[in-house]
């Protein structure tokens, strides 16, 4: 029996798998009955357990060097192993029983909702005969690392690594030359306290579905810096408050203008606010910036003013007396949502009138220019055209520009035609 050194161990996947395979082959060869041998499915379960255990050890070694005489237990869930193997939980339980008989698993402790703790035969990991340890002398992984980690989650199924986690390729594993005993041990942090090595393994997150997918996502969320998370939360909260303030402002405005005498209790008031949130602001589903929301809010206020003008115009005009009816998103007949069409129509009309006025102005200026009058009398026709074009393009209205060009062409054609007639007469 070899003397076990107390220096930190360095475990390689390939060595451990070779040891495991050799152990199982030896076990099978020593069995007289075929039914006592470990089948391929048992082997698959063993490899899966060993692989996950090595990953757990690798993570643990980042926090504290793992000593061979203090190998921690492997924490997992039966359901995770079952999912990874594509079998039922019962199969995993049966496999574990067989592996216990074979001596691959030397101990098991159930932790209820915390999963199960397995003690793997150190011979598989170290490739040597490990001195027999009593189960209670082997420390639990949570006992070892609870001082460093607040919540050490039991390992659940994760997708296969795309590369060897122990490989030095692309990672700054730095065997300490000054201290050869630390060979292969990953350094936890550099002098500045920053992690000096890349310890993650590439994983196929897009293939990580179901229960374990959630787990992986939650791990990613946990790994986000707490300060950044806090800031993000604050930002979301501020945005929410801002949007709620828009609804309240709107209701205050609408109440003052449309329902000045109404008396509402708190639940009714909240109901109306909810309806406004749904019907006027569309539950804020559209991802607008704050300035865009303010612009939309102003249009909503303008719609309320529009309704008020419409009510004042005729005694027969009316809106529902109850605001919860008026702001109901289902109320297509006489609800507030119909005012959007009014607003669009009104705005379109405004733009058309503005365009007409601008074109009239241009026409007038052109006529006065032709008569060599007005303020543009000293400009050439091309200069006048440029001035008009520049002025109209400021409105950024394609229809206006098209109307302008069409009018210009028409006037030119008339001019050419009249010149032709004059020439013929001459």
């Amino acid at each position: 029996m070899q003397q076990i050194s107390s220096s930190p161990i360095y475990l390689e996947f390939s060595t451990v798998f070779a040891n495991t395979k050799a152990y199982m082959d030896e076990h099978n060869s020593s069995q007289s009955r075929l039914t006592d041998c470990l089948s391929n499915s048992h082997r698959a379960t063993v490899f899966s357990i060993v692989r996950l255990y090595l990953k757990q050890l690798k993570r643990a070694s980042l926090l504290q060097p793992v000593l061979p005489d203090q190998l921690p237990s492997f924490r997992t869930f039966n359901i995770s192993l079952a999912k990874e193997q594509g079998c039922t939980v019962r199969t995993i339980i049966n496999h574990k029983e067989r592996l216990k008989k074979a001596g691959i698993i030397i101990g098991e402790e159930r932790r209820g909702s915390g999963g199960t703790e397995l003690w793997i035969n150190p011979k598989l990991l170290l490739g040597e005969v490990f001195p027999a340890q009593k189960l209670n002398t082997i420390p639990s992984i949570s006992d070892i690392f609870c001082a460093n980690v607040k919540n050490f989650h039991p390992l659940v199924h994760e997708p296969h690594e795309q590369e060897n986690a122990n490989s030095t390729v692309g990672k700054s594993i730095s065997p300490d030359i000054a201290n050869p005993e630390d060979k292969g041990v990953r350094k936890v942090a550099d002098e500045n306290g920053e992690p000096s090595i890349a310890t993650g393994t590439l994983q196929e997150h897009h293939k990580n579905m179901g229960e374990n997918g959630k787990c992986s996502a939650s791990k990613q969320a946990i790994s986000a810096p707490p300060k950044q998370k806090h800031e993000q939360k604050n930002g979301e909260e501020a945005e929410r408050i801002f949007l709620l303030s828009l609804i309240r402002q709107f209701w205050q405005h609408a109440r003052t203008i449309l329902y000045p005498d109404i008396i509402l209790s708190d639940p009714e008031n909240n109901e109306v606010l909810n309806l406004i949130w749904e019907s006027v602001y569309g539950k804020f589903r559209v991802r607008y910036s704050q300035s865009q929301w303010i612009a939309y809010h102003n249009t909503a206020l303008a719609r309320v003013d529009m309704v008020k003008r419409w009510l004042d115009r005729d005694v027969n005009h009316w809106i529902p007396q109850k605001p919860h009816v008026y702001f109901d998103p289902q109320n297509q007949k006489n609800g507030f949502i119909n005012t959007w069409e009014w607003y669009v129509r009104q705005e379109t009309l405004k733009i058309e009138i503005r365009n007409q006025l601008e074109l009239e102005k241009v026409k007038k200026e052109t006529l006065t220019h032709n008569q060599e009058k007005g303020r543009f009398k000293n400009h050439s026709r091309l200069q006048l055209f440029r001035i008009h074009e520049k002025r109209l393009s400021k409105f950024k209205d394609e229809a206006l520009m098209q109307a302008y060009y069409a009018g210009l062409q028409y006037s030119l054609q008339i001019k050419i035609h009249s010149n032709d007639i004059r020439n013929r007469k001459a």
């Binding site: 008396i263 209790s265 708190d266 639940p267 009714e268 909240n270 109901e271 109850k322 919860h324």
Partner: protein, 83 residues
């Protein structure tokens, strides 16, 4: 007629003082359908509708309260008007 369970689960109640001297308590029905989430505003609106339409001209005072011990007053009506 509302059941005892309905009375217990109602979020608001309305006490009505009729002109003929009767005083009765009505409990709100706060759901659109049996499995719907309770909506207190809906219950209040229904009670208000009952007062202003069903019992129009028959009552002098009506007060809507929260249906719990020391429930707050939510709405008060006097002679056909909310005050």
């Amino acid at each position: 007629m509302i059941s005892e369970i309905g009375k217990r689960e109602a979020l608001s109640k309305c006490i009505v003082w009729f002109y003929d001297g009767n005083v009765r308590t009505f409990y709100s029905l706060d759901k659109n359908h049996r499995r719907a989430k309770q909506n207190q505003a809906l219950g209040i609106q229904r009670l208000e509708k009952m007062l202003l339409e069903t019992f129009k001209g028959k009552w002098e005072t009506a007060i809507i309260y929260e249906n719990k011990d020391d429930g707050a007053e939510l709405a008060k009506f006097k002679r056909g008007h909310r005050i």
